[in-house]
């Protein structure tokens, strides 16, 4: 799905035809006045290349014409989505909070370097987190308040969350970032769950340590499982949205994992990718459109 223009159907179905994937059912229409959505049920039994390769070629074609793509098994697509979790930094907010902290601590260059490596998946996330938090040692707590007050939630996030709630979604924030921002954003947007890391404070300054069990890639998935348990649904009913390498673990294991303006390593592996922050596209991707009901009835 993406901005409507001539040639979209031809471009996408051209890829499927080239590799002998047969389209069994299609519904396409314009939604939200200027977005074109095409939903296809595709039989890949006689495809000439493995599904993974086909999906990657489709992703590149969609990216080339500014379209977002989601690929789901039909059983998973049919089951209604009930839970959606978002990464925080780079997904719901525009900042990497740890870098803002590092600026205040005077260790920005070093922290920025490690963040970039971690987000690209070149350094293990928890190890990178420990290294970076150590560089924050001695920062007064008052700086955290200043940073929290400067947080900018991406435009249209509030509207997105409201629409998702109306559609019956339970909303979670799962972040390797910190509670003082995550709790604030959670409250601001009205999320139901929040899982984050906590910085240890002693005598009004940061000790350079993280409290208790840290939220790394596996813990993000555990958080989703907790939510799914509470709701009595399976992972196939869950959507995970994130941009960094530490989000990939959950993105690859839920019903629909969305790489949101994601780093290359995530883009290559996420079953759904969108490279714009137009949240209407996300709504369409997770099936919050009438067109989906229409298609599901006929699958």
């Amino acid at each position: 799905m993406g901005r409507d223009r001539p040639g979209i159907v031809a471009a996408i179905t051209g890829v499927l035809a080239r590799f002998h994937a047969n389209i069994l059912k299609t519904r396409a229409s314009t939604v939200f006045t200027n977005l074109f959505v095409i939903i296809m049920l595709v039989d890949t039994a006689h495809a000439t290349i493995p599904i993974g390769d086909l999906v990657n070629i489709l992703k590149r074609s969609c990216d080339g014409i500014g379209m977002a793509l989601a690929v789901e098994k039909s059983a998973s697509y049919k089951c209604g989505k009930r839970i959606i979790v978002f990464d925080l930094d780079g997904t719901l907010i525009d900042q990497e909070v740890i870098e803002e902290l590092a600026k205040a601590a005077g260790t920005h260059e070093e922290v920025k370097r490690i963040t970039a490596l971690a987000m690209d998946g070149k350094v293990e996330f928890l190890q990178a987190l420990r290294q970076r938090v150590r560089l924050l040692e001695g920062l007064p707590v008052s700086k955290m308040d200043e940073i929290r007050d400067s947080i900018k939630i991406l435009p249209s996030v509030k509207e997105l969350i409201e629409t998702l709630k109306e559609a019956g979604f339970v909303i979670g924030i799962v972040t390797g970032g910190f509670d003082f921002v995550a709790n604030y954003v959670c409250k601001k947007i009205g999320a139901d769950y929040v899982f984050s890391n906590s910085l240890v404070v002693k005598n009004g300054i940061l000790t350079g340590e993280v409290e208790g069990e840290m939220v790394g890639p596996e813990a993000k998935l555990m958080a989703i499982k907790t939510m799914a348990n509470d709701l009595g649904v399976g992972l196939e009913s869950c959507v995970a949205v994130g941009d960094g390498a530490n989000d990939l673990f959950m993105i690859e294991r839920v019903g629909l994992g969305v790489g949101f303006k994601a780093k290359m390593v995530v883009r290559e592996k996420a079953p759904a990718v969108m490279n714009t922050d137009d949240m209407k596209i996300l709504l369409a991707l997770v099936g919050c459109i009438d067109l989906k009901d229409d298609v599901v009835k006929r699958i």
Partner: protein
């Protein structure tokens, strides 16, 4: 100015590539497909398209000839329904 639409329906034996072949002809003419519905019923391919021809109403005849020719080659039947406005 009111928008002008045609509905194109294509029916024939199913095989991979039909949507791609047909929609690329339309894309070549730079017309926009605004709605699309397709099923395979007992191995029969059925496609309907709502195409906005407003940008070049006069050129529609050329599209029609081209599509009739192409569908003949593909072994599928094509019909055109001129709606005027939607």
């Amino acid at each position: 100015m009111p928008e002008t639409y045609i509905v194109i329906t294509v029916v024939g034996p199913d095989r991979p590539g039909l949507i791609s072949e047909i929609t690329s002809v339309i894309a070549d003419f730079r017309y926009n497909i605004e709605d699309l519905d397709q099923v395979v019923m007992h191995d029969i391919f059925i496609l309907s398209l709502l195409v906005n021809i407003s940008p070049d109403v006069v050129g529609y005849d050329k599209l029609r000839k081209k599509l009739e020719y192409r569908c003949n080659e593909l072994g599928v039947e094509v019909t055109f329904y001129y709606t005027g406005g939607k």
